[in-house]
């Protein structure tokens, strides 16, 4: 199993009364909450942490894209990835990713990802998320009804652009270009591995299965809550006649490791409560937009009582620390406890790529490094050989 260090880059100084005094952490968050000095220092600290993750043996380091957001300070993950490509030498530079429909023309993504792949000498993982409703429809005002066809067409254009041997014309529904001829082309040939972060839509499962892209079940609610999503994905993989290679899947998981279970219970409470009860204070009206979810997924949602209950639970923002732990939102404990839980999760869900989130909420730099180091030293070695009998054709050619 490949283990990757995933940073959301949360703003660490949201006020204690954020939940009650502010409308939403996303879309219309008050810009006065952000102190420029804190912001600048936070970027430095977080980038250093990502570099440190490589030193601790992580196979990849991950960044992602959010807009108008108080817990994700990367509207342009490519800027961060460019720094990481320069400051690291072995870890996969994992951008999860660029919301293709937000780029006009989307060939811009082909160009910037190719640059990152060159900077890193073939260590890029190219992630193409649809993007959340908060990012795309509400913050960038993309029409939700056309977001997905724009997204699929954009990826199609990018893949053609990366693999074409000469300039060509592209006449799509949303994009028309006389000369598609990006310079540069990627280091990896025919193209960097493509991962598709998703939130559980049926179409995305089919899209990944049909195209042999990795499906990234990016959840904040841990492996237990993502079971239904992952089961749906594997069912579609089988329906497409594809093998069950665990490397077809990536899953995110908040993790807190300490010397003992009791110490972990004490250490990670505050940052977890900050994240789940403050950073995730998203106004429910922003979590969807008419047309953002396809008809098939809406129908599936109303038929899934499990998912409805889960959603209502997640929206309440007064989770107790014990609920977070018991429900697996955060896997905490001593090294053996964490390893056992992660191994159980990996075997049950067939997780070939674990995106470990070892900094969350307002976790300070010292604790983040402690967590990262312990995981790298005492947890990762026991997990590394999981699924080693399977090839991983979705891993960058020059990453460790």
């Amino acid at each position: 199993m490949k283990m990757m260090w995933f940073h959301l880059m949360p703003y660490p100084k949201l006020p204690d009364d954020f939940n009650t005094k502010h409308h939403s952490v996303w879309v219309d968050i008050d810009p006065a909450l952000f102190d420029r000095d804190v912001m600048a220092e936070t970027y430095d600290t977080y980038i250093d942490q990502l570099v440190y993750a490589e030193d601790c043996g992580f196979d990849g380091i991950c960044v992602n894209e959010h807009h108008n957001n108080g817990y994700g300070l990367m509207p342009s993950p490519n800027l961060i990835a460019a720094i990481l490509a320069n400051r690291t030498s072995q870890a996969a530079i994992t951008v999860l990713g660029n919301s293709v429909a937000l780029y006009n023309p989307p060939i811009r993504v082909a160009e910037e990802f190719a640059m990152l792949d060159l900077f890193s000498r073939g260590r890029l993982i190219a992630g193409f998320p649809v993007g959340t409703a908060m990012d795309t429809a509400h913050s960038y005002s993309m029409n939700p009804g056309t977001l997905r066809p724009r997204y699929y067409e954009g990826i199609d254009l990018i893949m053609k652009a990366w693999t074409a041997t000469e300039s060509f014309a592209f006449n799509g529904r949303f994009n028309q270009q006389r000369h598609v001829n990006p310079v540069p082309r990627p280091w990896q040939q025919p193209h960097p591995p493509v991962w598709i972060p998703g939130g559980g839509s049926v179409e995305t499962w089919d899209y990944c299965a049909a195209n042999d892209f990795v499906y990234g079940a990016l959840t904040y609610y841990g492996y237990k809550m993502v079971r239904e999503t992952v089961a749906g994905y594997w069912a579609r993989v089988a329906a497409h006649g594809k093998d069950d290679n665990p490397h077809r899947l990536a899953v995110t998981q908040f993790i807190g490791v300490a010397d003992t279970d009791a110490e972990a219970y004490k250490l990670y409470r505050e940052p977890a409560e900050y994240f789940f009860n403050r950073s995730l204070h998203v106004y429910p009206g922003f979590t969807d937009a008419p047309g953002y979810i396809t008809e098939a997924s809406v129908r599936a949602r109303y038929k899934s009582q499990v998912r409805q209950v889960a959603r209502s639970k997640q929206m309440k923002h007064d989770l107790t620390w014990d609920e977070m732990v018991d429900n697996g939102y955060v896997v905490i404990g001593g090294p053996d406890t964490v390893r056992e839980q992660l191994e159980e999760a990996a075997r049950e869900l067939r997780i070939g790529h674990l995106c470990a989130m070892l900094q969350f909420g307002n976790m300070n730099d010292e604790l983040t490094r402690y967590n990262t180091n312990l995981f790298g030293e005492k947890v990762a070695p026991g997990l590394r050989n999981l699924f080693s009998e399977y090839p991983d054709p979705w891993w960058p050619q020059n990453a460790r």
């Binding site: 879309v27 429809a137 509400h138 005002s141 029409n143 939700p144 009804g145 056309t146 066809p149 529904r173 949303f174 106004y283 429910p284 009206g285 922003f286 969807d288 937009a289 008419p290 047309g291 979810i293 008809e295 809406v298 129908r299 109303y302 038929k303």
Partner: protein
């Protein structure tokens, strides 16, 4: 002469004729309501790629009725397309009544963010009074699993047209409307504020009415509509 008009419904789709439009009907007008994909909640609806596709969809739906040329009454989203029809196909419209039409927005006062609101809460923001049963239970006959899907599709259609602010550049085409025009607006309209009426050259303001004013203030709206419609020169209809 047959007193016939085309009615283009509003943002929440066509549940049934409003009390105001029933009064117009009682005045002897035949009311033709085109069926428009998406707003009917029928499964399989695909959002349109661009606004021109929506104009084509509405033109096709209107032409399929065989009713035009005739007066056109349009509410909300329907007001947008009624105005477009009058501006771009003036030969099809002998008079146009617009009820809080979308199409021109004011960035300084964009109105209530309807689609930044949880779905079940949206309907209440379209009315100054209680949500009429016709809308509250519009798709109830489809059952508990399919009703919310149909309601969602109707929202998808409207949002696909209006996203993000409801401005479709109509201000640039208003000068082309030569047919007699009546514009009505509810003073309590949350989603398309009455202040937007100025951009349409003014409106008769209906007190105590929200966005779907024909439901909130049926007497005032029907009186204004009947007065306007009966003033039109029906001989020009050729029917």
């Amino acid at each position: 002469m047959t007193k016939r008009l085309v009615y283009l419904f509003g943002i929440a789709g066509h549940a049934e004729l409003s009390p105001a439009m029933r009064a117009v009907e009682a005045d002897g007008w035949e009311i033709v309501v085109p069926s428009v994909p998406g707003f009917d909640g029928v499964a399989g609806f695909q959002p349109r790629d661009e606004y021109l596709d929506w104009l084509t969809t509405f033109w096709d739906s209107i032409d399929a009725t065989g009713a035009v040329p005739c007066p056109v009454v349009g509410a909300s989203v329907g007001g947008l397309f009624a105005a477009e029809l009058a501006a771009l196909r003036p030969e099809a419209v002998t008079g146009v009544a617009l009820l809080a039409p979308f199409g021109i927005a004011d960035g300084a006062n964009p109105g209530f963010n309807l689609y930044g609101t949880p779905g079940p809460e949206r309907m209440a923001h379209l009315f100054a009074k209680d949500v009429p049963d016709a809308f509250a239970n519009r798709f109830a006959h489809l059952g508990p699993e399919e009703a919310p899907v149909a309601s969602y599709l109707s929202d998808v259609a409207a949002a696909n047209i209006l996203w993000p602010l409801g401005d479709r550049g109509v201000a640039k085409r208003l000068h082309r409307i030569t047919a007699p025009r009546l514009t009505l607006w509810g003073d309590l309209d949350e989603v398309n504020p009455v202040t937007n009426a100025a951009s349409w050259g003014g409106a008769e303001v209906v007190a105590g009415a929200g966005h779907l004013l024909e439901w909130d203030a049926p007497d005032q709206v029907s009186t204004a509509l009947i007065t306007f419609l009966d003033s039109l020169d029906l001989s020009s209809l050729g029917r």
